[in-house]
Amino acid sequence: MELPLGIQVPIPTFEQFIFIQVALVTAVAGLAVVTSRNLFHSALALTLTFFGVAGVYVFLEAEFLAVSQVLVYVGAIAMLIAFAIMLTRSMMYGRTSPLNNQWGKSSLFALLFFMGLLAFARATPWPAASEEVIADEAMIGALGREFVTTYVIAFEVLGLLLLLALVGAVMLARDR
């Protein structure tokens, strides 16, 4: 397929076509998060971004990660953000402008960071999927097995972190 400026683009397969759609939705929703003047609309766009990221995980055949993304981010984090918006009343009125006097510098940094990521991603020799990934229940079982054998320290530290979150929640949110 040839684009107007003489750029050669390979015709995407059907899978790639769907992936491009999902990625576009994710990116556009992400853009809406930072440009929306209404804080609540930002939160809604963020939810859509979370869904898009879950879609990307599905393309990586990581279905457990995808469902976790929806369960935790859409189901819990988005709610927390909405609650937080409600708690900070002053931010809800007067439709805050998404731009402040540092937008130039920050967008430059964002661009540089993106370039760095891109260079890194291109330089890394990604292991090509040599054999077809067998995505069945055994994979999820294997993941659970890894949690409590190879990564058992990290797993227990996570439990400790969750415990601290429970303790911290009480400290933070007590009415005073």
Binding site: H41, L44, L71, M79, A135, I140
Partner: protein, 413 residues
């Protein structure tokens, strides 16, 4: 055989007709999804009729009986009426959130139909993570409630929206944990294999009565209570309270948008019943589902009978139970159901690793579940007794003046 399998045959046929592969797959899947979704939306007509009939009987009324035979077409008439109603958007409403919310609340529920196993081989997709998929998509409904509350520019809607979110979040934890007990026992999150594990073979003949609910009545009860809360059915419908309050977060909606919330609510109750049947009551399992030709038909029949049975039970509770207050509701979720389910999981985790025959495991798990059942039952009994006393007391006159009646003998009653 799954839909994905016979759909492969169908799409193979379409490719043979000269269609590109992606178009054939797309066409076949789209038809399948269209049928499923329309089934869901049309079945709500029946669900609403059942609800109205059951509640009428409880309240000693006849219920709808004019439109169509037994009033079956009453809901169709209601839908047509709602279609002809004005679509009102309140002043200064947040248009995006206000208009998106009813659609999202329905689509979150409709998507769940994709993983419901209706009969052996009749399932949209048999996902490896179906059990989590059901819970995860529930969050779309929560988001929709929040958007409706926020978008309506109404204090009551906003308050109700927030309370609904608090309720749904609180009861999601016991729901997820009671699903976890099933996954722990069966070692699978796939609905297909969870149902397979509930078969009971007797000399090569599948009796289909090895239901997990028999081994785990406690987890079943906790799932049922939490599903009532998730569907916002009566003991937990204090945020809508159609008979006393102003309908909660969808107060400002009219016409078709209101109908969408209604549809989502009834369908959600049905789907939660279907998930409960799948996890605990054997799904399509029943005597004779292993037979070659009649098996799938029998399975479909068993599944529908069980799901509608649970649905009627939900409506029965809706017609008879008093409402809870929000503090009681939160208390029940966090201080009764969550500790009990965690206890069940710990007991089950230990029991399943005991070096005894599997039958002993089942007996021990059953004993633990009966304990949970007894605790929940005693708490509920205590609550309802107190509630009864309170109601009686509030009807007794606090002052005797003007309420006394004296009969001829001079005694008062």
């Amino acid at each position: 055989m799954q839909i994905t399998q016979w759909s492969d045959a169908l799409s193979g046929w379409l490719i043979g007709l000269g269609l590109p592969e992606w178009a054939a797959i797309f066409l076949v899947y789209a038809v399948g999804a269209f049928v499923l979704i329309n089934y869901g939306m049309l079945s709500v007509l029946l669900l609403i009729w059942i609800t109205r009939k059951v509640i009428s009987r409880i309240q000693d009324r006849i219920g709808p009986n004019r439109v169509g035979k037994f009033g079956l077409l009453q809901t169709v008439a209601d839908a047509a009426k709602l279609l002809s109603k004005e679509d009102i958007t309140p002043r200064e409403a947040d248009k995006i959130a206000y208009n998106l919310s009813p659609i999202l609340s329905v689509s979150g529920v409709l998507m769940l139909l994709a993983v419901i196993p209706f009969a052996p081989g009749l399932i949209g997709v048999d996902l490896n993570i179906a059990a989590l998929f059901v819970v995860a998509l529930g969050s779309i409904g929560i988001m929709a409630a929040l958007m409706a509350g926020w978008g309506s520019n109404n204090k009551y809607a906003l308050l109700a929206g927030f309370r609904v979110v608090a309720q749904l979040l609180s009861y999601e934890i016991p729901l997820v944990l009671s699903i976890l007990t099933v996954v722990l026992l069966t070692g699978s999150m796939r609905f297909g294999s969870i149902i397979e594990s509930q078969s009971l073979h007797l000399g090569g003949f599948n009796l289909g009565v090895g239901w997990l609910g028999i081994v785990m009545p406690g987890a079943l009860l906790i799932f049922f209570i939490s599903s009532l809360a998730e569907a916002e059915l009566t003991p937990f419908d204090l945020l809508e309270a159609e008979s006393e309050l102003i309908a909660g977060f969808h107060i400002e909606y009219s016409g078709m948008k209101f109908a969408m919330f209604f549809l989502a609510q009834f369908l959600n109750a049905w789907i939660l019943a279907a998930v409960m049947v799948t996890l605990f009551l054997g799904g399509w399992q029943g005597p004779g589902v292993g037979l070659p030709v009649v098996g799938p038909l029998l399975g479909f029949g068993y599944f529908m009978i069980k799901v509608f049975g649970v649905y009627v039970l939900q409506q029965w509770i809706r017609g008879t139970f008093p409402r809870l207050r929000i503090d009681q509701m939160m208390y029940f979720a966090w201080k009764v159901l969550v500790p009990l389910t965690i206890g069940l999981i710990v007991v089950q985790a230990i029991v399943q690793k005991l070096p005894t025959p599997v039958a002993v495991h089942y007996v021990l798990i059953f004993i633990a579940n009966v304990g949970v059942l007894a605790i929940v039952a005693s708490i509920l009994q205590k609550y309802f007794r107190e509630e009864q006393m309170r109601t009686k007391r509030s009807f007794e006159p606090t002052s005797l003046i003007g309420t006394m009646q004296v009969n001829e003998e001079g005694t008062m009653y």
